[in-house]
Amino acid sequence: MAVTALLLTAACGGGGGPADAGGVTLTYALWDDVQQGAYQQCADAFHKANPDITIKISQSAWDQYWQNLTTQMVSGGAPDVITMQASYYPQFVANGQLLDIQPMVTADKIDLGQYWPGLADLWVKDGKRYGLPKDWDTIAIVYNVDMAKKAGVDMSGLTWNPADGGTFEKAIAHLTVDANGKRGDEPGFDKTKVAVHGIVPELNDGSQGQNGWGDLAVSNGFTFIDKNPFGTRYFYDSPKLAETADWFRRLADKGYATPYDKTSSLGPDTMLNAGKGALGITGSWMIRTYLDSKSQKFAFAPLPTGPQGRKSAFNGLADVIYAGTEHKDAAWKWVRFLGSTGCQDIVADNAVVFPAITSSVERALKAHKAAGRDVRLFVDEAEAPGGTFLLPVSDHGDEINQIVSTAMEEVWLGQKDARTALTAANQKVNALFSGG
């Protein structure tokens, strides 16, 4: 039975995009339903300019996206053009599933300088280029405006360190309110009966901690990997990371955050929307989710400044071409259009994500401003010299993810101290590379 189930699932991933009569139909895969509208507009504009090519968008949620993609590749019917995330693409490259677009980039003289610095080179491995950047994101604090006002907390220019938490921890403590109305920093505060937690941290956050522990650890002097992209040695055993993890765990001990084993599985945005927490740490792709909320009024504030400065994770997506596509030229035309101002300005006007092309970013900011959303700080963080770090990209991404997130869970649950758990995890992670 077990074996049968596996193989049946493997066999069921079919359905690519065969050409229809008279022209070429390309399938384009993406996971974010919020962005689908913007890219449909791009597809329409592209079809107008190239009447013989039709784009069919295939959207599936993040949780299923990568499994769908792999099974479709096995059956030979993967989408022609694929939205790709940096930490996932090495495994597809290793199996020869992505097309090297460097020859086309050279032939068409694509200006790689038009993209936000650092984004284009993420997609180069061993001299081969696999994608053109489409967007990027940075991280910030999201907070409940009414709660901050009532507490009289100023959210701009917070500082943080792993020893006493700096003014960031002071703000969190003051925003925490127990059932009797006592704040977290007042005498008589009952940490067993908390009505509103100061922070709803996203602790269960893979191997990178993009929405919290990763950013603060880097601002504490932590480095993920010896070389990025494609390093081969990780530093999860660093005391800088362990200190940061310990600080996050202490928040729960003090009653400022829910204990990990009693944390809702519905995600921080649900908790914040339910008014059960005052602030969180989140990425710019969540702008609309928070600012368009009907139940609470939210605003963003820059990440706190750590011992090494303010450090935000910086991550980008790209459009890549499936190596098995039957329509290489058409697929390249579409990728070239996606990576040009033609499409990225459309995406900017929709104000869903920040486009990869520098000039389109200003347009996105304008569109946000017109809609009454103040999100400039995400761009400020990206522009600040040394203010961002790229998320680590290497082989074995999914295995590292499982090893590190399990170790982190042991820390959050208090089963092991951070130093022990992370040192053990780091040994397992680095063994993946020495094993070959």
Partner: protein, 307 residues
């Protein structure tokens, strides 16, 4: 043995050799749809699976033969042994809950009411798709926003991480699935109880035996074949726990609910270690086969005391 002897005697008579051969062909025609389906969807994939278990294959590469390496890795894999352990824990919990609750409900129905409405209502949770019921319970049991914790807190108690704390996660998953399966188990047991001749109860009542004693002395012993059947079916069924875990806990917290099916799935479709996943799956087949055999033997399931 008996059938074989019989057939031989009849063929020896050689009265109807032609018709016999005709029967065989017709029988084959009737069996064909099932046989073809069985061969295409069970035998063929199982054989392929056995082959893949001897290879290193990540779905996209060509499967490369590695002999018994996958099995050697499996023996030394702490996550595999952990997955067996938590699966066994789950099976004991959920089968225990189902059978105790099922027996209680069936006995109540059998001795108190024969209402058709009640009987139909019992199977309603069983009719709810597993994923739906898992989602439903995930919201009800949520640590901060769930209805159950709302109740606990309003009673002055602490909220509990039903699905998020290592100690409670597996019992919660077991309870969710037991909730879904109890109705069906109850119906099976109830049907079994109806087979027990009424006069035995009447005789017992005449002798002044109480209901409780009747249950333990009459109902339970005479129910053994049905109980054995229910046990075997629900045991194998619960070994295949996947959907509730995939929906509610995703194997966490810290491997507490990483049951063997979910582990196989993760190895195959998250880590794309298809060869290793096939080896895991085949080991599970072996374990399940062995378990069923032992159970049938222990319970002498094929023999009834009523016969």
């Amino acid at each position: 043995m008996t059938t074989a002897t019989l057939t031989k005697t009849e063929t020896a008579g050689a009265a109807l050799p032609r018709r016999r051969r005709g029967d065989g062909r017709v029988a084959l025609a009737f069996l064909a749809p099932v046989l073809i389906g069985f061969a295409a969807f069970y035998v063929y994939p199982a054989v392929r699976g056995a082959w893949y278990s001897l290879t290193d294959w990540n779905l996209l590469s060509e499967p490369g033969f590695v002999g018994l390496d996958n099995y050697a890795e499996l023996v030394g894999d702490p996550l595999f042994w952990n997955s067996l352990k938590v699966t066994a824990y789950y099976v004991v919990l959920t089968v225990g809950m189902q059978i105790v609750a099922g027996l209680g409900l069936a006995a109540l129905m059998h001795r108190l009411t024969r209402s058709l409405v009640l009987r139909s209502l019992l199977v309603v949770p069983w009719l709810v798709p597993n994923v739906t019921s898992a989602l439903l319970w995930m919201w009800l049991l949520d640590a901060n926003l769930g209805f159950f914790n709302h109740l606990l807190v309003s009673l002055g108690l602490d909220n509990q991480g039903f699905l998020t704390s290592p100690g409670l996660a597996m019992p919660s998953v077991a309870a969710i699935n037991a909730w879904g399966a109890t109705g069906y188990t109850t119906l099976l047991l109830y049907a079994g109880m109806l087979l027990v001749p009424r006069q035995i109860y009447e005789a017992a009542a005449l002798d002044g035996t109480g209901e409780v004693r009747q249950f333990f002395r009459i109902t339970l012993p005479l129910l053994r074949p049905i109980l054995a059947f229910v046990l075997v079916v629900s045991l194998i069924d619960s070994f295949q726990l996947f959907d509730a875990v995939a929906v509610t806990t995703k194997g966490g917290p810290v491997d507490a609910t990483r049951v063997v099916y979910f582990y196989i799935y993760e190895e195959a479709f998250t880590h794309f270690k298809m060869g290793y996943a096939s080896a895991l799956a085949l080991s599970l087949v072996l374990i399940l086969g062995l378990l069923t055999f032992v159970q049938m033997r222990l319970l002498r399931a094929s023999r009834s005391d009523l016969a």
